[in-house]
């Protein structure tokens, strides 16, 4: 029997067409809803450490996906007391106050100390040596002003979808911040 329709389409073709329209509608509605939210609200993107929550547990040094962690110690000079006996620079039980490795807190020798004027010393972090272990930051928090603190360096961080340090951070200090707030700084 001849079909009365001018251009009959097969069942398979019809199902495909119907499926394509349904799939297109689903994709359009999902992307419409989410894109509007992404454009009106501030998406959070960059991983940063909240210095107020950080307990300097040392996991940043070992849990980053990079061979050397993207977390580095930053130094807020405006918070620093410029002490001679620096809790971040010297170990608690340092025998002599000199630059011998056994007296220093930093395992990689990344903290540089410079005499400014009596009795002040300026401390600078050599970031190429720092591995983000946070020993100095812990010392500075315990005995000093807390001017040494850990932070994710944005030029090093790969911005993983899920931060592997945040997964193991005991204090939940690592969270994503908005695009325009690049860094959570202590002196910024």
């Amino acid at each position: 029997m001849e079909s009365k329709i001018a251009n009959p389409i097969s069942r398979k073709k019809f199902l495909r067409l119907f499926g394509a329209i349904a799939a297109g509608a689903a994709a359009a509605s999902v992307s419409g809803v989410l894109l509007r939210r992404s454009l009106t609200a501030q998406p959070r993107y960059f991983w940063q450490i909240d210095p107020a929550k950080c307990t300097c547990c040392g996991r940043c040094a070992t849990s980053c996906v990079l061979p050397v962690s993207a977390v580095k110690c930053l130094h807020a000079n405006r918070v620093c007391g410029y002490c001679d006996l620096c809790g971040g620079y010297y170990r608690t039980n340092a025998k002599d106050l000199n630059t011998a490795a056994e007296n220093l807190r930093c395992p990689t020798g990344a903290i540089e100390r410079k005499f400014v004027e009596d009795p002040y010393f300026e401390y600078t972090i050599n970031e190429s040596l720092c591995n983000g272990c946070g020993k100095c930051a812990k010392g500075c928090n315990s005995f000093g002003n807390g001017s040494l603190y850990l932070q994710v360096k944005r030029e090093l961080c790969k911005n993983c979808n899920e931060c592997s340090i945040a997964n193991v951070c005991p204090s939940g200090a690592i969270a994503q911040v908005a695009y325009d707030k690049a860094y959570m700084l202590k002196d910024g």
Binding site: V30, S31, K153, K186
Partner: protein, 436 residues
């Protein structure tokens, strides 16, 4: 110093606000204590200017999206219009070099599934527009042109494509069993994403360690094994693991334009043998003498079993939901705190130190953990039902024996790698009028 604290307070959670207030009251507290006054410098010392480099991420994400679209366009043009493989290989090299090594494999479409799932489940979560585009553009292309994203735009697919030398065919039974895994993986990934527990697709990414030249040893070994397997059989990751491939295969079934068998096909089976992902079905004469009506009745009977399978899956995962919820950090922390409350430990792990240090209360944490576990029960039930359906549909599909007179492309499985074209003896004569 005060300024710094104030600044933190302005954009912080209530708990943090209490924490900051405590700090101001107790200057001898742990962090941010101004124990030593600001020094009065007399030698004219000035504070060093601190500048922290900020890479232009907006620019790079724009480049990502433009390149993603351009490469998919090139691949689609090559495989559907020109029916040639060279541009796919070029695109694969570019993708591995740029998306893989240069951009370190992040952001990727496979991982973006989790962001989309979380954004759909939680209206407070705002996903980056680039991640959304990475999720949706390959799907749009799949609806229109098939899985061109898989061909040579996804760095993971491209990497396996480039190392593939020989395509040993796996047995039908093994292929069918293994091809359920991507769906199970997809469902689990969505489950853990919507409960804000973990992004397992990112955590268990086998090739990211290679792209970053470092990472978790176990995953690098697994990735290396997959790559070695990819030399001998087509794309083991894409076929038997990739959750996004599973999703795209669904959309590719209805694609508007797609790769077709050469119209002047002489049924020589060369393309069928060349296909690394077993996406070209050979002609098949159904020897089972079954009337159409009986066949339809049989399939309907199988479909009636689907609710039973879905129910069994739902029950299984609901029972396992408490165990699954331990993937969530807060649930684990609550367990630790509860254990410590029952029998206080002398040396506390950093988690407990941080919890008590931040002044967290057990009640508040237990409420939070209970809410997450309730979420897990709800979502795990749905996930279990979906897994049951996936298994049911796969089994039903295995019992469908359709007679085919010609070679046919399985659009869901075809990854548009374009290997088949050069194997076709009819291809050049067919393509000639098209080129002139």
């Amino acid at each position: 110093m005060l300024n710094a604290v104030k600044k933190t307070v302005t954009h912080s959670t209530p708990t943090l606000r209490i924490w900051a207030a405590l700090l101001l009251l107790l200057p001898a507290g742990a962090a941010d204590a101004q124990r030593f006054p600001k020094p009065d410098f007399e030698s004219g010392y000035t504070y060093p200017e601190l500048r922290y480099a900020i890479p232009n991420e907006t620019l790079w994400t724009a480049v990502d999206v433009v390149l993603l679209t351009a490469l998919m366009g090139v691949v689609a043009w090559a495989v559907i219009r020109k029916r040639t493989r060279a541009p796919v290989v070029v695109s694969s090299v570019i993708s591995v070099a740029y998306f893989g090594f240069f951009r370190s494999g992040c952001v990727c479409s496979i991982g973006a599934i989790q962001n989309v799932a979380l954004a759909l489940a939680d209206s407070a979560y705002v996903m980056p527009p680039s991640a959304l585009l990475f999720f949706i553009l390959p799907i749009v292309f799949a609806i229109l042109l098939g899985r061109v994203f898989c061909a040579g735009v996804c760095p993971m697919g491209a990497l396996q494509e480039l190392v593939n030398v020989k395509s040993y065919r796996l047995s039908k039974a093994l292929t069918a069993a293994l091809s359920v895994i991507p769906w199970i993986y997809l469902i689990l990934a969505v489950l853990f994403a919507v409960t804000r527990s973990s992004f397992i697709i990112c955590r268990f990414d086998p090739f990211i360690g290679l792209f970053r030249l470092g990472g978790d040893v176990g995953m690098i070994v697994f990735g290396a094994l997959l790559l070695v397997a990819a030399i001998f059989t087509g794309r083991p990751f894409c076929r038997f693991l990739c959750p996004y491939g599973a999703l795209l295969s669904l959309f590719a079934r209805v694609s508007v334009w797609r790769i077709k068998i050469t119209p002047t096909c002489i049924s020589c089976e060369l393309c069928h043998n060349a296909c690394p992902v077993d996406a070209i079905r050979a002609p098949y004469a159904n020897k089972v003498k079954e009337s159409r009506l009986r066949g339809v009745k049989r399939v309907l009977l199988y479909l009636l079993l689907l609710p039973a399978l879905a129910g069994a899956g739902a029950l299984t995962l609901r029972t396992a939901s408490n165990a699954l919820s331990r993937v969530n950090k807060d649930v684990r922390l609550y367990d630790m705190v509860a254990q410590n409350e029952a029998a206080p430990q002398d040396v506390q792990p950093p988690e407990l130190e941080a919890f008590y240090g931040q002044g967290g209360t057990v009640e508040e944490l237990s409420q939070r953990a209970a809410a997450i576990q309730a979420d897990f029960r709800r979502y795990a039930t749905a996930a279990g039902a979906l897994m049951g359906l996936v298994i049911g549909f796969t089994l039903t599909g295995l019992s469908l024996k359709r007679t085919r007179k010609t070679y046919e492309v399985n659009d869901a499985a075809c990854v548009s790698c374009a290997r088949c074209f050069s194997y076709c003896p009819q291809e050049r004569t067919f393509a000639k009028p098209d080129l002139s």
